[in-house]
């Protein structure tokens, strides 16, 4: 059960969290630049209102790259104006945000094709080519008769 102190004390203000997040992004970007260390900040776990998120987006801006993904619902990813800092937003049911994070990395992993998918794709493309060749041969044979 909460005590009097926990009930009476207010959570940190959103503005304070916004500057805290920006400082963390700066630290992690330095770590990426100097040691190649990647980092992620989960924005949904922080007490940020929509207007604070908007402030954060404006402070980070938009850079050269953006991508729209369609995987179990839409996702949007864009590089901020600081290369290596990416805003990643995954939407779920009726376009509500399921996950929203800042990734500090050269390229977010979700943009790369994963090896198991590449293996499946190679098999699938070969199957398609074989099917195409068979269909074409059958059509040719049918034309001759």
């Amino acid at each position: 059960m909460p005590d009097a102190d926990s009930i009476g004390s207010a959570p940190p203000s959103g503005a304070a969290v916004v500057s805290g997040v920006l400082r963390e992004v700066a630290e992690r970007l330095e770590a990426l630049a100097e040691r190649g260390e990647c980092g992620v900040i989960d924005l949904k776990s922080l007490p940020l209102s929509d207007s604070h998120l908007q402030q954060l987006r404006e402070r980070l801006g938009r850079g050269e790259v953006s991508a729209q993904l369609e995987i179990l619902g839409p996702s949007e990813i864009w590089e901020t104006r600081y290369p290596g800092v990416w805003w990643v937003r995954h939407l779920g049911v009726t376009d509500l945000v399921a996950a929203e994070r800042i990734e500090i990395t050269r390229v977010p992993d979700i943009l790369s094709a994963a090896l198991p998918d590449v293996v499946t794709a190679a098999q699938s493309l070969n199957d398609d080519l074989a099917l195409y060749a068979t269909t074409r041969r059958e059509r040719t044979d049918h034309g001759r008769t």
């Binding site: 909460p2 009476g8 992620v40 179990l72 198991p116």
Partner: protein, 355 residues
Amino acid sequence: MAEPETIGELLSERGISRRGLLKYAAYLASLMALPPWQSNAIADALAAARRQSVIWLSFQECTGCTESLTRSFSPTLENLIFNLISLDYHETLQAVSGEAAEQARRSAMRDNKGKYIVVVDGSVPTRDGGVYGTVAGQSMLQILNDTAAGAKALIAVGTCAAFGGIPHAQPDPTGAVPLTSLIKDKPIINISGCPPIPEAMAGTIAYLITFGRLPDLDHLNRPKSLFGNTIHDRCYRRSFYDKGLFAKSFDDEGARRGWCLYELGCKGPVTYNSCATLKWNGGVSFPIQSGHGCLGCSEPNFWDKGGFYHPLSTPTGHPTAAVGAAAVAGIGVGAVSALLARRAKREATSTGEKP
């Protein structure tokens, strides 16, 4: 074609790429308060895991918990959970009935001994040998004891299974008890709520599959990631509480302006749950956002704690009275904030600034 052995193979067969798992892992990490950089490892672990056998037992309940889990999702990200589990027994959802259904439960218990998870919704009647609840000629008490014996862990979904809930409310004619009163030798996770938030149920099951262990639990066996804060802690009306601005009735000026519902009986300050952040119906709203105070449905004995519309500081004859006093101290703080806010407004107005 061979049956897929792992979740990764199954998803691939269903046309869901590894990116789908990465997206789900990002969602799960956020939901369960896991370190966000672990999402790649979570996706890998899920891809390599086998589908988790789940036996769902429904006892003294209203089916609201099942409704919550199955009807609140659209076929997108959040229902990926149904690809992660093999729901081997669920009276309401399974196609078979009668002896074939009971056979399905026994087969799952035999084939997955020591590995299956038992999900229970509803409390268990124990009075008079448990005769007030029977399924297929067996008492619920007996079914629970038999099924729990070979389980890896149990999840009590809903306040009835977690704390006894409404069947346990006075005068409790059936001697209804929660799982923790009966099963002492197995890990039990409580996902309380009436009903629980669907994401809380799905997230906990996904956590178990991914890590093969229980998440961190609070003193009432609830995952700390989902029950670590009170509704009040994360309520968007909290700033009104801190300023001492309260609605006095459901149609007064304060209610229309969205002020705090504390004086209308809101139990947010003593209720641990994620309604204020995860919300309901796919994140659309939650009771306080819809203009009604929190009922405290995820806490033990919420039905017997006095009126839903009595403010917490009203003596109820229950242990919450102590918390009520603490909440009054909170109002004291809020009143000072309000005074400061009024003074700031006066000063700002006198200097021509907007408040």
